[in-house]
Symmetry: D2
Subunit: 376 residues, 4 copies
Amino acid sequence: MRKLKVGMIGGGGGFFGKVHHRAISLDATREVVAGALHQDPAMCTRFADEWGVVGYPDYKAMIEDWKSGKLELDYVTIVTPNFLHAEQAMACLDAGLPVMCEKPLCYTVQEAADLKALARRRKNILFALSHTYTGHPMMMLARELIKQGRIGDIRKVETYYNQGWLATLLEKEGNQQASWRTNPKMSGISGCGGDIGTHALINALWTTGLGLKRVSARLTALPGRALDDDFNVIGILSNDATLVLTATQIAIGHKNDTGFRIYGSKGSIEWAQEQSEELHVLDGATRVTYYQNILPAEAPCVLGTYGRIPGGHHEDFLEALANLHTSLERKIRVHKDEKDVAPSYDHPGIEEGVLGMKFVKAAVESSKKKGAWTAL
Amino acid sequence: MRKLKVGMIGGGGGFFGKVHHRAISLDATREVVAGALHQDPAMCTRFADEWGVVGYPDYKAMIEDWKSGKLELDYVTIVTPNFLHAEQAMACLDAGLPVMCEKPLCYTVQEAADLKALARRRKNILFALSHTYTGHPMMMLARELIKQGRIGDIRKVETYYNQGWLATLLEKEGNQQASWRTNPKMSGISGCGGDIGTHALINALWTTGLGLKRVSARLTALPGRALDDDFNVIGILSNDATLVLTATQIAIGHKNDTGFRIYGSKGSIEWAQEQSEELHVLDGATRVTYYQNILPAEAPCVLGTYGRIPGGHHEDFLEALANLHTSLERKIRVHKDEKDVAPSYDHPGIEEGVLGMKFVKAAVESSKKKGAWTAL
Amino acid sequence: MRKLKVGMIGGGGGFFGKVHHRAISLDATREVVAGALHQDPAMCTRFADEWGVVGYPDYKAMIEDWKSGKLELDYVTIVTPNFLHAEQAMACLDAGLPVMCEKPLCYTVQEAADLKALARRRKNILFALSHTYTGHPMMMLARELIKQGRIGDIRKVETYYNQGWLATLLEKEGNQQASWRTNPKMSGISGCGGDIGTHALINALWTTGLGLKRVSARLTALPGRALDDDFNVIGILSNDATLVLTATQIAIGHKNDTGFRIYGSKGSIEWAQEQSEELHVLDGATRVTYYQNILPAEAPCVLGTYGRIPGGHHEDFLEALANLHTSLERKIRVHKDEKDVAPSYDHPGIEEGVLGMKFVKAAVESSKKKGAWTAL
Amino acid sequence: MRKLKVGMIGGGGGFFGKVHHRAISLDATREVVAGALHQDPAMCTRFADEWGVVGYPDYKAMIEDWKSGKLELDYVTIVTPNFLHAEQAMACLDAGLPVMCEKPLCYTVQEAADLKALARRRKNILFALSHTYTGHPMMMLARELIKQGRIGDIRKVETYYNQGWLATLLEKEGNQQASWRTNPKMSGISGCGGDIGTHALINALWTTGLGLKRVSARLTALPGRALDDDFNVIGILSNDATLVLTATQIAIGHKNDTGFRIYGSKGSIEWAQEQSEELHVLDGATRVTYYQNILPAEAPCVLGTYGRIPGGHHEDFLEALANLHTSLERKIRVHKDEKDVAPSYDHPGIEEGVLGMKFVKAAVESSKKKGAWTAL
C-alpha cells in the first residue's frame, strides 16, 4: 500500500509541528515529504534538513510545485499561529489540496465566514480541524452512546480545561509558546478562551451533537497580561440545556486537565483527558467503566478501527491526533478510488471551527457587559 | 467526666435527626436526654420512647422545663425544616441555651438579620451552624495551610455540589425528603441553591476566609418542579478573585459529590468530600497528598484533636458532624469553667448563615435578570 | 427502647479501648457502664472516672457483681493484649456472659481449641470476634454476591494488608503499641502475621466461604526485632484454588492498606479498605462499581440494615466496628425475647478465630522449613 | 538527518509486528525497509506488499543481501515466537547486525547461555531486549531515584502482572495468540511465567538494580491447558530482601495490570502501567506524585530526552516501545560516528534475558517440589 505524502506549513519552530510529524508517521501509511516549515528561509532550510524533507521558503511555492506536478502531495497540514490559518487554508483548498488545520480555525469571525463560504462553493472539500481530543476512542464511544440514547435527553453539560502554565507572566521571560498565545496580534481577541476554551466547547458539542445559543461570561487576566487567562462561561445549548464551561491557565498543578460531564434524563457520561482510556457511564446506583481498546458491541463503528494495541495498553495524545490524520487519509483514499479503504469517522471541520470563533466573540462581549446573556 | 445533656427540636421523622443523634452519642461525652421530636404529639411520644429520651409535644415546653430547673440541658440541636429555624433558634438563644442549628440558617434574609441582631445584643452567645463538611479534618487542614500562605494569594475558587437524586419528580411520588425540599413554603426561594449550593459556598468561603461581592447566575428546574434543581453561579469574591459555583440535583449517579479546587499564586489546594480523607496540594511539578489522621506539623491546631483513629482508617460524615458538636461542647465546657477542656476550632455560625441567605437571594435575582451581575 | 449495658476488659491505656467505646456508643442503643480497664488499679480508677463508668480493679470482680445481680450487663468487650484473651473470654462465657473479643482469638492454638471445646459444650454461646473489616457493608455485599454465584467458581484469591509504621524499631523508643506487638510474650509466635495477616486471611475466607489447606511462607524481621514484620504466604484453599497473602509493617507510606481481589470463573470482585465505600465487580469488558448505602437488589439482607446515612456520605471504620456490635446486640435482644429486633448478620466468631491461630502457626513453620508446604 | 533502515523477522501475522512497525515509524527517524515477515512465503509477500517493504521468504536471505551490500540495514527487529529467537538473533549478531529482540530472550536456559557466550566473544555487540515497560519515562525516573538513594536500602519488592484474557480455554477456539502462548513447543516450559512473569521480574530488577538468588513458587493451569496460567513466586533478592511476584492470566477484568511497589528503609516507590504517567514516592506522611513529561531536576538524564509532548498529555505503550528503539538507534548512530547524537539510556539486554530464563526454570522446579526454595 502506498504511503500518503504530506506537506506541512509551519511547525518548524514550535513544539507542535513535531507532534504532527509524529502523528503523521506513526501508522507508517503516511509521510511528510515537504514543508514550508518556518517564515525565516534559513530556519526553513535547517528544519527541512533535520526532518529529511524538501524545504520551501514559502508555502505558496510548495503549492505551485504541486500544481505543476513537480511535487507529489496528498494533503497539507497547517501548524502556524492562528492569524495565518485562514489565508493558508484558503490557498490550499482553492488549489484543491485537502487540509488538516490546527485549531482555532482562524483569527476573526469574518475569516471563518469566508472559509465556510468557500467550502459551500466548492463541494467535496476535504478539510479537518485538528481538535485532537475528538480522536480519542473513548470520546468517539461517548458520542455513539449518546446518539443511541444511553443517557436519554441531555439536561446539562459541564466541560472544562484547566492548565497552570501561565500562572506567572511567562511571556515577559521570553517563552515562545507564551508570547504568541498572549499576543492579541497573533491569537485574536481571547487568549485562554481561544486556545483551550474552544477545545472544551468542541469536545462537548461534538460529543452531544448540540449547538449553543447564548452565553454569560467572566474573563480575567493577571495584571500585565494582554489577553484573558481565565475564562468562565454559563451558556444555553440549542435544546435549552445548561452549559457550564470553565477554562483556565492559572490553575497551578493542572496540566491538560480537560474533560466533560454530560447529564441526561437517564444517566450521565463522563470523560477526562488525563485518564483518556476510561469512559464512565453512571446510572442512579452504579458506575460502569469502559476501557479503551475493549469496546462494547454498542459501538461497532469504533471497535478495532481506531485502536492499535490490546486493551490495557493505552493509546494517548499522539495516537488520538493520528486518528484524525487517519480519518482524513481514508477520505482521501476513497476520493482517489483506492481499494479496500476502511471506514472513516467524522471529526470536526469548518462548521465546528466557525462555531468556536463565534463562541469566543460572544464570551468576550458578555464579559464586557457584566455577564449579560449574549447571543452567538 | 460528666456527659453534656442535649435536647433536640425536630428530627423524629426525617433521617437527619437520627444522624445528629449518632453524632452526639459517638464520643460518649454527650447524650440526647430530651426532645420535641415531631410536630404531631403522638409521633413525638413514639420517637421519644424509641430513643429513650424525655418527650415534649412542644419545644417551648422543653425550654420552660429547663428554665425552671426541671430538666437539665447543656444545649439544643435544631433539626427542623428551614422555615422553622429562626423562631426556634431565637427562643433558645433568648433563654440562654446554646444552639446547634441545621443549615441553612433560616427562611428569609430578614430572619437572618434578626438573628444577627440578637447575637449582637447578647454577647457570648454560643451558636453553631451545622455545615457538616467543615468538620472534616482535611477541610480544617486546608484552611490552616491557606492561612499560612502555602498557596499564596487566591486567584480563583471552584466549588461544587453534584447530586442526582432529584433527576425525576420524586416529590410527586410521596418522597418526604423531596417534598419539603421542593416546596417554597418550607424551603424558601431556592431549592438546590438553598439546600446544597449554600454548602458549596460556605465550604469555599470558610476555607479561604474570603467574602463574596456579587454573582451572575442561571437557575433551572425540571418541568413541573416549583424550585430550582440546577444552580450555576459565577461570582466575584471580596479580593476580586473569581468564584465558579455549580450545584445540581439532576446529575444522575452523583450522590454527595461536593468539594473545591482553590487556585493561588503559589499553588493549588483541592479537596473532595467523597474522598474526604485526602487533601491535595499542587505545585507546578508534583501533587502532594496529605492523609486524614496523619497530619503535618504545619497544622498543630488540628493534629490529634479532632481525629479518633489511626491514619488509614478513615473518619467520615458522622465523625465530621461529631466534630462540630465537639467544638460546641468544648466552648460550653469552657463557659462553665470545667477543667482540662481541649481547645476548640471555629466552625461556621451566624455570620456564615447570613452570608448563605444573601447569596441565595442574589443568585435568584440574577437568574431572573438574565445573568446580570447582582450584588449581595 | 432500653440501651444494652456493656462491660469492658482492658482498653484503658491503648487506643483501641476508646475505639470500641465509641463504636458501642455510636448508635445510642448501647452504652459502656462498667470496666476493668487496666491492670494497674490506680489507672483503672482513673480511666473509669474519665469515661464515667463503674471501675473494677479486676475483671473477675466485675463478673462476680454481675452474677450476684449487683451490676447489670448484657455483654463484655475484651480489649487486652493477645495473651490474655483466652482466660478472660472463658471466664465470661463460662459465666454465661456474651463476649465481643478483639482478634486474634488468643495466644496459642491449644487455647483456641479449648475455647472451641467450651463453645461446643455450651450451646447458644454468643461470641463475636472483632474482625472489624467484615463489618463494612461492601464486604458484606461482596460475600452475598459471591454466594449468589456472580463471579462463578473461585480460582484465585489475593489478599493483603500493608502498613509502614514499624519500618523503624519503634519498640526501642518506648512506643507502647509497638512494644507489645513485637513482644513474643504478649503477641505469640508471630508479629505481623498475628496482628494483620489474620485480618487479611479472615477478610478473604469470610467473604468467599472457603477454608485453607496448606501454606508456603517467608517471614522476615528487621535486625533487632523479635517477631516478623513482613509476612508472605502462598496457600492452597479448600477448593484447591490459590491464595496469595501478603502482610507487612515496613511498607513506608502505607497505613491500613488492606483489601482483596477475588478471581472467579465468571468475573472478579475487588475491595480495598482505604476506599471502603466502593466494591468493584469486573467482567471481561467493564468494571461495575457499587457504592456504600446505595446497594443493589441482589443484596436484600444488607440494604438499609447496616447503613446509617445516605449514599455518598460514607461510613467507615468506627461504623464497621459498630456493625459488629450491632450484630451481637441483635442476637442478644433475640435471646432475651425483646420485640421487633431487626435481623442480624453473621460475622466471624470462634471458628474463624481457630482458623487464624492455625494459619499463623503453619506459616511460621513453613518459613522455618524454607518454604515447604505445611498443612494447617 | 538520515533515517535508520530496519529489517524485521516475523511480525506479519501476529499483532505485535505491527506494534513494532509503528514504534519504529513514530519518530520519523527510522523506517522498516525489509522483512522476512512470515514463515509462509506467500504470506510473507502479502505482508511485505501491505507494508510497502522489500519481502524475503527467509530471514537468512535478508542477512545475505545486507552482507553483499544489496540491502541497506542498520538493525533487525525479531518478532517471532520464543523458540525461534535464539537462532535468528545469533545469525544477526554473528553477521554484525544489531538486534532488537522480543522477550523472552529465547526458549531454553542453554540457548540463553549460548547467546551470552557469543556476546562475550564479540565485544561491542548492540542488542536490546524489548521489555517495553522499561521504556516508560516514569520507570526510568524510578530507577534514577532509587540509584540516588531516595528510598534508602531496599527491603521488599512486590511486582505483578495481572491479565484475564486466558480465563477460558481460548486456545481450543482457534485464537492464534492463545495457541502459541499455551503450546510448550513454541513457548517453552512456562506459559504465564515466560510471557508476563518475566516482565514483572525485569521491571522490578532493572528498576532496583538487584539480582535474584532463589524462589519458592506455585504454578497452576486451568484443566485442559498445557502450560501454567497462574504463576506466584516468593523470592530472595541478591541483598536478601524479599520479592513477591504474582503473574496471572485468569484475573478476569484485568488487562495489562502490571506494576511494582518497592519498599525501602526511607520510603516507597510505586508505579502501575495502567497509569504509566504517574510515579508515586511515599514517605511516612504524604504521597508525592510525579508526572510524565514534568520531570524533577533529580533525573537530568531523562528530562526532555525521552518525552515527546507537554506534560498532561501522556505517552504510553507505543511511545515506551519507541523509546527502546530510540536507545538502540542512538547507540548505532554513535557507533557509526554520526554527529550530534543525543545520549541513550541503558535498557535491558542479554544479561536480563538470561536472568529471565533462569528465573522461569527455577520457578517451574520449585512448584514441582511443593514450594521448596530453589536456586537460580
